[in-house]
């Protein structure tokens, strides 16, 4: 009987005291779809939120869908959370971050350092650590303000775009990992607005586009890389999944181009430590299949295929070399994780020697690229 009475009291207190304490009806929250951060007035942070207006988003249920489906609202503050509280003062519904999958940071702020932003985004329970982190030249608020083309909300389009395997999929959690791991520097996708049509006189609208990557050193932005260079980074990070390589056939062989689709690509980074000198071997193996041929070469000839393979190999190594050079000389930022591979193979040496001055060592390390390409298929027609 005593036990029963105790259980009853427990049950009632459980429900009476703890019940409903964070209950919010779904129509009392402001669903944030994208978060943008910029630097304004030297040291002030501007938080821009894209908030969905459900009644405008879903047609049919509650009549008219006139007006914009999202509102953009921003406020400044010394920290992210301060700006967030300031915005709350302007919104009649509770700001709800958990549905946001896009964290967009402007250039000025990124150059000053982003650690506190990533910290807020991971420490506070609401924002998702699997939201995409992206950087933009200029102001983040400009992109957040852009109009959607297919989806109801432009943030959805950003997310879908980031999910496609054209570029990198970098979540906040990956960014934080790269930031905290030694021997690798963080990078993230770069996002811009591009005109919809090119080389026409039409006044076309603007569309969001993934446009290369932002390179970091520590938590500070040091530079950008364009799309072509990003391809090189994909090779080095062993994340190449799809892509097309076009090789030029020299004039003496008849000229023209052959385009090949990447079927499979694999990259191995092997650090070699010999007599105190560090060297990195990068082995790249690619399988290709021809999808376009406007040269005069006969692809049925194995000799020709071998020739094409060497062209492809050259092209791939050149791409990789280019980006390695840029990272080593221009940015001095080890976004490839070379340091990690050194640590994995030579942990003792890493801890005693390289850990402290990897910054300098990275810039000086020799990188040898061994590219191997195989053309597996030549297409359906002669």
């Amino acid at each position: 009987m005593k036990v029963m009475r105790m259980l009853l009291i427990w049950g009632i207190t459980l429900i009476m005291l703890a019940g409903c304490w964070n209950r919010v009806e779904i129509n009392d929250i402001a669903i944030v779809t994208a978060i943008g951060l910029d630097l304004v007035e030297e040291d002030q942070l501007r938080l821009t939120l894209q908030v969905a207006v459900p009644s405008k988003l879903v047609t049919g249920t509650t009549g008219g869908s006139s007006g914009k489906s999202t509102i953009v609202i921003s406020e400044t503050g010394a920290s992210v959370s301060e700006a967030y509280r300031n915005i709350q003062g302007k919104l009649s519904r509770r700001i709800f971050f958990s549905q946001s999958r896009v964290l967009l940071i402007g250039e000025d702020l990124a150059k000053k350092g982003v650690f506190h932003i990533v910290d807020f985004h991971t420490r506070y329970a609401e924002p998702r650590i699997n939201s995409f982190i992206m950087f933009t030249k200029g102001k983040a608020s400009k992109i957040i303000n852009s109009m959607p083309k297919f989806e109801g909300v432009s943030a959805e389009e950003m997310r879908e775009l980031a999910k496609m395997s054209v570029g990198f999929k970098i979540y906040v959690r990956d960014f934080l990992n790269m930031l905290l791991t030694e021997g690798i520097e963080p990078f993230a996708s770069q996002f811009t607005l591009k005109p919809l049509e090119v080389n026409t006189k039409n006044k076309s609208g603007e569309a969001q586009a993934v446009n290369g990557i932002a390179v970091f050193k520590g938590d500070k932005l040091v530079g950008w890389m364009d799309e072509v260079e990003t391809r090189g980074l994909l090779w080095l990070r062993n994340e190449i999944k799809t892509g097309v390589i076009t090789v030029n056939i020299p004039e003496e062989k008849g000229g023209g181009n052959i385009s090949m689709e990447i079927v499979r690509g694999e990259t191995n980074i092997v650090p070699i430590l010999k007599r105190g000198e560090l060297k990195l071997d990068v082995d790249v193996v690619t399988e290709l299949s021809v999808i376009e041929n406007d040269s005069k070469l006969n692809l049925f000839d194995t000799k020709v295929i071998e020739e094409i393979q060497t062209y492809a190999e050259e092209k791939i190594s050149k791409r990789i070399e280019m980006i390695v050079e840029k990272a080593q000389k221009e940015y001095e930022s080890d976004i490839f994780g070379f340091g990690q591979s050194v640590y994995k193979k030579y942990p003792k040496e890493w801890n005693t020697h390289y850990k402290e001055n990897w910054e300098n060592e990275f810039a000086q390390t020799k990188v040898a690229i061994h590219s191997k390409a195989f053309v597996r298929r030549i297409g359906l027609i002669k």
């Binding site: 029963m4 429900i15 409903c20 779904i26 459900p54 509650t62 609401e126």
Partner: protein
Amino acid sequence: MKIFRQMKRLSAKNKPHMKEQSVQEQGNNEGLTGNLEEDFQRIKQLFEGAADFAYREIEINAAYSALILYLNGLVNVERMELHVIHPLVKANEKLPRRAEITIDDMKGILSSAQVKQGTTFQEVIDQILAGGTILLMNGSKSALFISEQSWEQRSVDEPVSEAVVLGPREGFTENIRTNGSMIRRRLKTTKLKFEYMKLGSLSQTEVMITYLEDIAQHSIVEEVRSRLNRIEIDAIEDSGYIVEFIEDQPFSLFPQVLQTERPDRVVGNLLEGKVGILVANSPFALIVPVTFFEMMNSPEDYYGRFIITSFIRFIRYLFLAVALLFPSIYIAVTTFHHELLPTNLIFSVAASREKVPFPAVVEALLMEITFEALREAGLRLPRPIGSTVSIVGALVVGQAAVEAGIVSAPLVIVVATTGIASFMFPSYPLTGAIRLLRFFMIFLAATLGFYGILLGIFFISVHLVKLRSFGVPYMAPIAPFHFNNLKDIFIRAPWWKINERPHETGKRNLKRLSSRKPKY
């Protein structure tokens, strides 16, 4: 549970009190006197005011007067005329030529199949009430009981509450003898036992315990017997009365006795070592002990193809969860865990809730209760009006309420799905338990979110695991776990693979297949 036990104790205190009040026929244990006039007067007095009481005097050999007593409507008059009155009237030629003619001589004359003899008033009265025809003779201290009962009854019909596509279509009727014969027809063995008993001080309802000797455990049969004997009530109108008297946990929401209209289901269970209880005037037989998983099985499971049946069982368990949890999950997600919904879904849910004036809980309760009302109304009304109710319900509750912005469309979907899901279970009493627990879960989800739902599942699980039906754990063979019996729980193995009876009830004689060798 303590509070329940206290209530039980209280009701136990009331029992002797009830006994005093109960009307019973007593003091008729004296023997017949042999004086026809005197005996007749006494019986007639007992039946005073009973218009269906009938009698006929017959002179045998112009020397002996005999009397036939019966109740109109319970006796097949044509057969009685043919097999009782006619031979008696024409007795002259057949009777031995001697001075004394005893009632024993009459046995030779009557051409009825069943003739018994009795000597006390009580026996005579019981026999009349049970539909027997009584023959009294002057100078005889014993009476003959001739069985020529027959009364109007429903014919064997398709069971309404347990319809199947495949499998036998006959269901029990109100006649206990017909019901017994349906079982006997399926098990032509002397091992099949029927034990008669009478329950109800006024109704004197016939109750039959049936089981297979050598398979059913003695302890369970004995337990059924003793629990039935403990019943003290004036009348039993349906087997449902008995269920409440013999359940292990009468306050549990979950049924611990299986009620079925299907003789094939009873036989299937007898073969698993269960005990069946047939009750006169009830088309529902009872089966004990029963487990939760047996409640989830339909008799059709055993007639269809096993792979398809296994799939259907999977669907059934899935929708068990839906029926129990769907509204509460909806409430928890829309009021506590907004991050769980896909972005596009949360937009449409939020948009549809935009104009709804109530919180999600109130909305859900409103709809659930309306649905229950619709269900009950549809059930009670005569069939032609019943369809009107569903049309009005669908239009008013479904469409108009959404359009008026009183409830949100996703919630209507939730409630409708839940409604369909709750009618998927082959056991009607279980449906009730799930429906009621749904409200409990809604309440928990509305106050504590997913934490509350988990808490609720936890409480229900604890209760289920603790529950027993006639000593057999309710969740067997999951808790206690018995691997070999899993062949007929979530899946239905082919018959040639189910080589053992359920361990809990059939352990006296586990083997089902004569050869243990599997087919493949």
